[in-house]
Symmetry: C2
Subunit: 192 residues, 2 copies
DNA sequence: CAAACTCCATACTCTAGCGTATGTTTGACG
DNA sequence: CGTCAAACATACGCTAGAGTATGGAGTTTG
């Protein structure tokens, strides 16, 4: 409950605020990003905030852009390193399934789609990921039109899963059940 | 811009407020449900509202329960009337795909999943629908475990589609493309 | 070491939106 | 046609949270 989560840096930068905002978004959603609350959490007051940002909206914007920029480099590059295209997709499914931490922000943003600022960011990110899936399916030997639809379907299933299991806590699925579900997805959505 | 959208009923009931709230939810989300704004829209003032409801929260609750109760009777009963189980699923897909009006509220609630009141409602509704899909797959001849996973996958795809195309306005899909996508879903998710 | 800039505290204003208190109209019914 | 309760108006209080004004402490630089 204390305000000293971070090792008590003496002075803050704009990036510190953005990181804190992102953390708060992941934990409590975009609406929870209030300047005074954030300031308390960082051990300072509003006076600090309004030196770094002109408005609250500016902070949210900066945090979202930061997430869009640095948030998803890892997985995609890891997957692209896999030579055989036919191994790539199942591997992608399994890795995404088992590293659910990076998806926290994405899930939080999904349920904050009221907010006008998050819509364009999510649109861009989702679009890029779907195009990645699209080429992955084509490289696995699927004809173009079918690949596009399959990419849409796959990504919709991903988004829907986040909503149904992260946000809604539908009847808590067990680990074994979850693994079985993932394998079922692979069997259903990836061509033999 | 005038306040006389409805044929100017002299006096209102609680149900009128609930309906208006639902309409507002569908159009602008749950957060837009403010009592003074709603009152203006109905041509009255707050004084009326606080006669019918004890609090704003009570209105939202009543509106959600109303939606949960009366909102989805039609489609399911229509589908259950189809005798052949193997025709049922494709038909369900196509009808759901082409009557996107009733899904407006569901989509609006999906992006309002911050709000604590909507979570249990959405959990119940989603759960029921997934169980409906589950039995549908079993009756179509699919083994139980696979049927359950396929139901999860199908419903996740549905939810994700709403998010990606309603809320985010991803590159506006054409009618022909959309029909092709639906047929692709049917071919992929429903056993031959 | 003094000027100048960066970072932050304190104290304030302003607005939106919920809720309350209390008076006023309408309409059904004896 | 008077009565009483349902339905509404008006005016107010209250809080949360964004934004402002201003001054001071800490750090860098000439």
């Amino acid at each position: 409950m204390n305000a000293n989560a971070k090792p008590e840096r003496t002075r803050l930068s704009a990036e510190d605020w953005e990181e804190a905002a992102l953390k708060l978004i992941a934990e409590q959603g975009v609406n929870a990003v209030a300047v005074e609350a954030l300031a308390r959490q960082l051990g300072v007051t509003k006076g600090s905030f309004y030196w770094h940002f002109r408005t609250r909206e500016a902070l949210v914007q900066a945090a979202l852009e930061r997430w869009e920029l640095y948030g998803e480099r890892e997985i995609i590059s890891q997957i692209e390193a896999i030579p055989d295209p036919r191994v790539r997709l199942p591997e992608l499914f399994r890795r995404v399934a088992h590293e659910l931490q990076p998806h926290r922000v994405y899930a939080a943003l999904l349920k904050a789609l009221d907010h006008p600022q998050v819509v364009p960011v999510m649109a861009r990110v989702s679009q890029r990921r779907m195009e990645f899936l699209n080429t992955a399916y084509r490289e696995a030997g699927m004809p173009p039109v079918e690949a596009l639809n399959r990419a849409r379907l796959t990504y919709a299933a991903y988004v829907g899963f986040l909503q149904l299991n992260f946000t809604l806590g539908l009847p808590r699925i067990t680990h074994e059940e979850f693994d079985a579900y993932v394998e079922h997805m692979i069997a259903t959505l990836i061509p033999a």
